[in-house]
Subunit: 456 residues, 2 copies
Amino acid sequence: MTAIKTYIEENKDRFLDELFGLIRIPSISSIVAHKEDMYKAAEYWKKSLLEAGADRAEVYETKGNPVTYGEKIIDPTLPTVLIYAHMDVMPVDPIKLWDSPPFEPEIRNGKIWARGADDDKGQSFMHAKAFEYVVKNNLLNVNVKFMIEGEEEVGSPNLPKWCQDNKEMLQADIILVSDTGMIDPQTPTITTGLRGLSYWEVEVQGPNRDLHSGLFGGAVANPINVLAKMIASMTDENNRVTMPGFYDDVIEVSSEERELLGRAPFEIEDYKTAIGVKQLAGEKGYTTNERTGIRPSFDVCGIWGGYTDEGAKTVLPSKAFAKISTRLVPNQDNEKISVLFKEYFESIAPKSVKVTVTPLHGGQGYVCPIDLTAYQAAEKALIQIFGKRPIPVRSGGSIPIISAFEEILGIKSVLMGFGLESDAIHSPNENFPLEQFFNGIESLVAFYTHFAEMNK
Amino acid sequence: MTAIKTYIEENKDRFLDELFGLIRIPSISSIVAHKEDMYKAAEYWKKSLLEAGADRAEVYETKGNPVTYGEKIIDPTLPTVLIYAHMDVMPVDPIKLWDSPPFEPEIRNGKIWARGADDDKGQSFMHAKAFEYVVKNNLLNVNVKFMIEGEEEVGSPNLPKWCQDNKEMLQADIILVSDTGMIDPQTPTITTGLRGLSYWEVEVQGPNRDLHSGLFGGAVANPINVLAKMIASMTDENNRVTMPGFYDDVIEVSSEERELLGRAPFEIEDYKTAIGVKQLAGEKGYTTNERTGIRPSFDVCGIWGGYTDEGAKTVLPSKAFAKISTRLVPNQDNEKISVLFKEYFESIAPKSVKVTVTPLHGGQGYVCPIDLTAYQAAEKALIQIFGKRPIPVRSGGSIPIISAFEEILGIKSVLMGFGLESDAIHSPNENFPLEQFFNGIESLVAFYTHFAEMNK
């Protein structure tokens, strides 16, 4: 047994106790009522970093939720790794679909079940424990910085300014992030591309009050009917977005690269079975992985209006609402798309209603070159632990802050994630296999070694 | 001052106290938690009828909510008037839009403000008080029966059977109903046509759980996007319903009758201002009153799915739902339409989702001939009180039970209603002007006189 395996074996109950303490804080960033929990989570991280061996750790205020920063500088001439992670989590509704309470972590079938078990409390805590191991065993030969934010799930609105204000302190050679996934437990994966995001809330205002659908139905525009028509018109029969200009900045990926991407192991029947659908649907002319990896998407994330309670209330409602998002590919500018959609969607509203679009958040896409030293160190680390060369993939997800880091700090990020598709992040019954958690810690320890080695 | 005016003047505080007692019972039939309130309302009606002068009054059980029946038989050879009304009310959401609590009636600006102030507690209680007046003053020269049900707002599912079971007891020459409106406070109105109704809940099931909209968005059908497309496809650019067969049984109204209907006073600018819209919308080729009076409609009464809380949660939801209704014109069979829609809507679902349509309730349309004796008695009564001949109108609303009465009991109904458009029935801030309430009582007293006279 390797030293790190022994260390994990001897300390795993404590590791999990500590992680569970973090998970038990319901740090939902999108719900204002959880504001205090964000501070609890930030303090928890401060304590964790100091206990793991940081020279210093502090909770920094922002205009929004706090950021916990910690560091251990062993030699200013050595390379520096900046760990980025987030302490906030997604909301938990619909709560009734959870098999166990989301903020009371449980281990069942070798997995941790809780909101944040993977995204990103589980994954980020692997960094705390890998760091602890290299510090306690005098193996650390790079400088390490931690930046744990509390607004990732709402688009990191205040982190760019905080980075700008603390640019000096954050200087590093690479940002290392574990907030992505692996293709499967046997196939290590490094995410080399992320989609950008634009997100809006739209309001369709019809009559000034709910009307009787008998007395008025047929003569007054129903805002739900109108909203449905407007949403429907946004995509065509080939599932392409109809908004003029939407695809203007999309870079068509070469057929060679599409061929490479197509080599990633993928079983369409397993994929369909896992999510329980009989047929997939997406933009014509692209494979499933291409549709999420290299093509933008248009999804209604929420819709509501009128009577939604039990039984049959007849009403012609005053208003209807939707939360709409697009995932964008690198080179599509999220702010440009944000304005484009607002103007376009408001412009196509019939005169019988009033439509207001409010942009809620957004972020740029990102691409990581595979010849980067840190990428190659991550590759070596994953080969060492998983016995297999990791596959570089373009994820459909977004971490809006990653491209901001590049812009503000001038530092590239390596996305070395350990989540699995079955982890159900953002969904009820989020979970994280213990095996991934422990393998992740080992891989991160190996990364420190290889990265230091390659920088000698 | 006439005797009835004097009586109202002397008793109006008591009348309102009694009505408010009824209103304070939150008898919302569509919400199971209010089941007990339905019994309270039924007992309240029993007491009210006995106090007003009924020989007997009883609360009858049904498989659903109870029915209060009361009667005063002065001479079996005289004609009999059967009053039909309902004690149940609509839900009150969105509660925050109410200026005063919906079940705490208040008088402001000469109006009663409360859920049920008009529909139908205010209107039905005029009958109790008109009846009280004729009984206490020995003016009654017809037999009177009352049938007050508790499920009108959910489509009267159990009343047809109750009528069937009590056919003998319910024998009458005419059914008199006050559950409709007047064109304006100066223009008495008798509703001669009602639209039918079919109402469904639809469920669109996509993936078996909420998915991350980044990891899956673009590759998996989003049930909200699909539902929007399906709803959008149900009406065309002329606002006609596209479902095959939907218009098959619609009787085209003759151009002469359309001309007559067009004579009803109607100011399109006032109408638009009252409901706060800049432009009306409806089936091409028809006027606003035709669209609600003689043409069927297609309205989404409610829609929900995905994330609908504060902030920006990105999710590709598992399910989306809608409550959909059509208003039908006489001769369209609601059960036929109910089946037609279920089959059609399920058939147009793409294979990427599973769509389930559940019919919730329905009712047939109704037409009342204007040469009916009771219609003419109502006309005389309204002329006497309002000084103006009432206008016969076809309402867009539905009272599903009215056509059932004709079918089961063989009795026509006269719809002599006193509501105003500004009463906001089914909406927040429902109200009923005191003037309408008192004029209504006078009109109903006059009806008894004229109806008895004309049957001599």
